[in-house]
């Protein structure tokens, strides 16, 4: 089964590479290919569309000013399931795309365990065994996978309504849908924060697909080592020395 996914992913990546292009300048590494970036932004787009239309249903008296953007309450409610479906479909493709790098490893549990220090800023550099994705990103990925499965099931139930599925399934899926939405929302805040102002230099990874080598060895040393073959800590020291020489 996985070989079929592999073949599909490769074919897709090549096809998209032909269509788009990865701008990798000197001193940068290729991080995300066109196919990944395309999927990421489609997922993001549908997520926000679903989120905003969903707000109109979740708490209309709070978000009543939102729905006119989508042409009023009824249209927002009508489009919400389609956006949700878009989100789930594209995320499914992303999941196939990232199934390999996202597999959970011991390093990730270790990363999660010293999460407090990374958040409080004491640890300037991530532990050397942080691979292509660190524990937080993997946790969020799998959280989104779980969330979108819940979205799909409860969404279909809510969409077709009590007429086909009965009162209690709708009532329960009404809660699960909300819970997973709120959790995912929380995760998305953090994701956006870290990928923009939280960790400068990350955003271009999803725009041009390239990251600076400094970024690589600081946040994903194991991946840096794997790609460039050099030792990240040593590379960081050399860069610091070069920095002081330039300053003098």
């Amino acid at each position: 089964m996985s070989t079929a996914i592999e073949r599909f992913d490769d074919k897709a990546r090549d096809a998209f590479d032909r269509m788009g292009q990865n701008e990798v300048y000197e001193g940068e590494l290729l991080r995300h290919r066109v196919y990944t970036r395309f999927l990421h932004w489609m997922v993001a787009l549908f997520f926000f569309l679903a989120l905003f239309t969903g707000f109109g249903i979740y708490m209309p008296w709070l978000f009543r000013w939102f729905t006119p953007i989508f042409g009023g309450g009824p249209l927002a409610r009508a489009m919400h399931p389609w956006f949700g479906l878009g989100f789930v479909v594209f995320f499914a493709l992303q999941m196939l795309n990232w199934i390999q790098p996202m597999t959970w490893t011991a390093a990730d549990t270790k990363w999660i365990r010293n999460l407090r220090s990374t958040v409080s800023g004491k640890e300037k550099q991530d532990p050397p065994d942080t691979g292509f994705f660190n524990g937080g990103q993997k946790a969020q990925f799998w959280e989104i996978v779980g969330g979108s499965v819940v979205f799909l099931i409860t969404g279909i139930i809510l969409w077709k309504g009590a007429r086909t599925f009965g009162c209690w399934p709708v009532a329960i899926s009404y809660i699960l849908h909300d819970i997973s939405a709120v959790i995912m929302l929380g995760g998305i805040f953090i994701h956006i924060y870290l990928s923009t102002i939280g960790e400068p230099g990350t955003f271009q990874a999803m725009i041009r697909g390239a990251v600076s080598e400094a970024w690589a060895w600081t946040f994903h040393p194991a991946w840096y080592k794997e790609v460039t073959g050099r030792d990240p800590v040593q590379a960081c020291e050399e860069a610091r020395k070069r920095g002081q020489i330039a300053k003098q």
Binding site: G73, G121, C167, W168, A171, V182, Y193, I197, A214
Partner: protein
């Protein structure tokens, strides 16, 4: 706006804050009494409703019963349910019950409805749908313990019996109640209707041999503004699925009015938390981090 008396609103669906009409005006609670023991299943109420509300006709097909259609529809608000119940001695009791919105005191539809102003409850107890505010999410369908609200796919809105809020607002009795030939349907204040119902139930018990005759006014949803007199009040399911103990899925009460706002604030905390982290801890920069220049006081710069 009905000319003589505007029906004051007591409760509005999905509405933040109290409704303008709440406790503003004394109003007797109206009630429709349905005495199934003298209902002859003639369907005058069905026709009177379709005719008064000028509803378009929906095609019906024969399915081995006198019942007009399996359940009410968005253009057929009240329907007599026919059930042939076999007594122990083998004889048949032909039960007929008029099925329509029960206008509950604590309406499940109103609780479930997320849209603001789509479902309103007047001070006289009538629960009414305001189609222009309805967003067609059909939560009310799962909120209603009696499976009453019906969705119209063409207009994407939900419809149900309004207990003729326009006629009652204009000082008339509902159309189905006026038409009922045997007087099985009666209209008046809730106290009068309960009194007549109890008297009738007593008469059935004492004079007509229905020991378990009783009145159906379920308190699990705070009582309803449509009250039944049943031959056998202990098992109302026999009358075409009238729930003995109607209950609103708790998700529309506990979840909606307690957890949802709480979780909503959690999500907000997420946003605020992130900003707070940015303001305090600051971003994580790729190493080596360029050293800070000395942050001398501002006046030095002038």
């Amino acid at each position: 706006m009905s000319d003589r008396k505007t029906l004051q609103i007591k409760q509005i669906s999905g509405h933040s804050g109290p409704s303008p009409g709440f406790d503003m005006q004394r109003d007797a609670e109206v009630c429709k009494l349905i005495d199934t023991t003298i209902c002859i299943g003639c369907k005058a109420c069905e026709v009177a409703c379709v005719e008064w509300n000028d509803m378009p006709f929906s095609p019906t097909t024969f399915d081995n019963t006198y019942q007009t259609m399996p359940a009410t529809r968005w253009n057929f608000w009240n329907l007599i349910k026919f059930n042939e119940h076999q007594r122990e001695d083998g004889t048949i009791q032909w039960l007929m019950r008029k099925d329509q919105c029960m206008h509950c005191a604590d309406p499940g539809c109103l609780r479930a409805c997320p849209a603001d102003g789509a479902i309103v409850q007047y001070t006289n107890g009538i629960v009414d749908f305001q189609q222009e505010n309805c967003i067609g999410c059909e939560y009310c369908v799962s909120g209603c313990p009696y499976d009453i609200p019906k969705f119209n796919p063409a207009t994407k809105k939900v419809y149900k019996c309004t207990l003729c809020s326009d006629r009652v607002g204009g000082g008339l009795e509902p159309a189905c109640i006026k038409a009922c030939p045997t007087g099985c349907l009666k209209f008046g204040t809730k106290d009068d209707m309960k009194y007549i119902a109890e008297e009738r139930a007593k008469q059935l018990r004492e004079n007509f041999g229905f020991e378990k005759a009783g009145v159906y006014d379920p308190q699990s949803i705070g009582g309803t503004h449509v009250v039944y007199v049943l031959h056998d009040a202990e098992n109302p399911e026999r009358y075409g699925g009238l729930p003995r103990n109607p209950v609103i899925p708790w998700s529309y009460t506990v979840w909606k009015w307690l957890f949802k706002p709480v979780l909503g604030t959690f999500a907000l905390f997420g946003l605020v938390g992130v900003l707070f982290h940015y303001v305090t801890v600051g971003p994580r920069l790729p190493q080596p981090q360029p050293p800070l220049k000395d942050s001398t006081p501002r006046e030095k710069e002038i």
